[in-house]
């Protein structure tokens, strides 16, 4: 037999062997996975559920649903989608109003000494309206001066006060975060803020009117 043919046969046998192993492993894998499926059948073979137990189970489910409903927000609440930059005013499952907003840019800022670091994200989770302000003024925090490359003034300095940049209304929801107006209306729909939520004038007015202190805010 020529040498080349011999090598070819050996190669074919080797590939066939590998294929055989692969197929065997695949079949074993599928067989083991099929074994995972039989759970309920085994469970109900051991534990039949009679009508009384079933009715009890249904009753308990109903009471759990009632408990759950107790946690859900009462009255109107705000939902903020930071991915699509949208705010929803809702009551139950009904959306009463929807508006485009600007949320946090997610950028990073460090002071020149490298001692402090800020991440400009809009916080996520459940919050509540803590304050309602008319004609709010912005008390500029340290990062605003660092960002502009300016000296940081003392805490009570007038330099920190900036009027007219937050619009006509603001809803505070803790840790210095606000839902407020904006001068940069073209930026609505983009993530450009330092964590606050900027809303257009008409929508802000409507939200201010509907929300009260304690109104829940859900941000995701």
């Amino acid at each position: 037999m020529p040498k080349g043919k011999k090598i070819l046969i050996i190669l074919l046998i080797f590939v066939g062997f590998l294929l055989f192993i692969f197929t065997a492993l695949e079949i074993t894998g599928y067989y083991l996975n099929a074994g995972n499926r039989s759970f309920w059948r085994n469970y109900l073979k051991d534990q039949k559920i009679d009508t009384d137990a079933y009715n009890q189970l249904l009753k308990r489910n109903e009471s759990l649903k009632k408990k759950m409903a107790g946690y859900s927000p009462k009255g109107v609440y705000l939902v903020i989608d930071t991915a699509y930059n949208l705010i929803y005013l809702r009551k139950g499952t009904v959306t009463l109003r929807q508006a485009t907003v600007s949320c946090g840019s997610g950028n990073l800022l460090e002071d020149l000494q490298g001692n402090r670091r800020w991440v400009f994200d809009t916080p996520r989770g459940e919050f509540a309206v803590q304050s309602k302000l008319r004609d709010p003024v912005w008390i500029k925090p340290d990062w605003a001066f660092i960002e502009e490359g300016k000296e940081i003034p003392p805490k009570q300095s007038d330099e920190r006060i900036e009027e007219g940049v937050l619009g006509e209304y603001a809803l505070g929801f803790g840790d210095g975060y606000f839902i407020h107006g904006t001068l940069y209306t073209r930026m609505l729909g983009r993530n450009v803020t330092h964590g606050c939520i900027r809303v257009g004038d008409d929508d802000l007015k409507a939200l201010y009117k509907e929300a009260t202190v304690g109104t829940k805010i859900y941000i995701y």
């Binding site: 189970l57 927000p73 997610g106 002071d111 459940e126 995701y220």
Partner: protein, 251 residues
């Protein structure tokens, strides 16, 4: 043609009386049937499972609703993903397809340990004394970490050895379709091998979930919305639900 003969045919006569012995037998039979069938009636399997599943889901959600954190539900039965808080659906994503492989999983809250992707999106550093936003300028360059910077193909690693891979519906482009065929081949060949490996070598349970969403934006929005450390509830296909000390009759 009918004849009068057919009409006048006599019916077989009914018995004139029923013996008391027969009455007793009949009553006895009814009693036996009542005892054996009526006294313990079992609920159809399907209804029982539905009620148990509902109970498990409510228990899990109730636990999460007690705190202010958001949580997500990956519902493999209804093929949707829900972002929730306090039992309220904040956002819902419909999935094109969801596939499941591996060990059964419990219907309990599980933490999202990691979001794994080939190219992790990076946050921009602000240079102090940098730009100022131009009022109403269309040309203003936005330096932001936005949804568009998020990946559209990634894996969520959830506690208990669960890997959820998320990708988008194959596009019409040739190479995208080819890549999709490759991913399908991978789905049907890799998990069985991993099952064998895990069973005999690692001895750890593992579960793979493959989710295909409508488009790139949806996948990116999901990546944006899922936060590491958040709690997830996965509703597995019925055959893959694991019960942890569940007693249908007790508490």
């Amino acid at each position: 043609m009918t004849t009068s003969k057919h009409c006048t045919r006599k019916r077989p006569s009914a018995p004139k009386y029923i013996s008391t012995e027969m009455v007793y037998k009949l009553i006895g039979l009814i009693i036996i049937l009542t005892i054996t069938m009526g006294a313990v009636s079992y609920v159809p399997e399907n209804d029982a499972i539905n009620a148990i599943e509902e109970k498990l889901l409510l228990d899990a959600e109730l636990e999460l609703s007690k705190n202010p954190d958001l949580y997500c539900i990956i519902d493999l039965k209804e093929k949707k993903i829900l972002m929730k808080a306090k039992g309220v659906v904040l956002r819902q994503w419909e999935s094109e397809s969801m596939r499941f492989w591996g060990n059964p999983i419990p219907l309990t809250p599980l933490p999202l340990a990691k979001k794994s992707t080939l190219h992790k999106p990076k946050r921009e550093n602000i240079t102090p004394n940098g730009k100022e936003e131009k009022k109403d300028s269309t040309e203003a360059k936005v330096q932001a970490f936005e949804m568009g910077s998020m990946p559209s193909t990634y894996t969520l690693i959830i506690g208990g050895g669960i890997k959820v891979s998320i990708r988008t519906k194959p596009e019409t482009r040739f190479f995208a379709r080819l890549a999709n065929i490759g991913l399908n081949i991978k789905w049907y060949t890799a998990p069985p091998l991993l099952t064998v490996w895990n069973k005999y070598k690692k001895k750890k349970p593992f579960t793979l979930i493959d989710i295909v969403v409508k488009d790139k934006k949806e996948a990116q929005a999901l990546y944006w919305t899922f936060t590491e450390g958040a709690q997830c509830i996965i509703i597995p296909p019925r055959d893959f639900l694991m019960l942890l000390d569940f007693d249908a009759t007790g508490n």
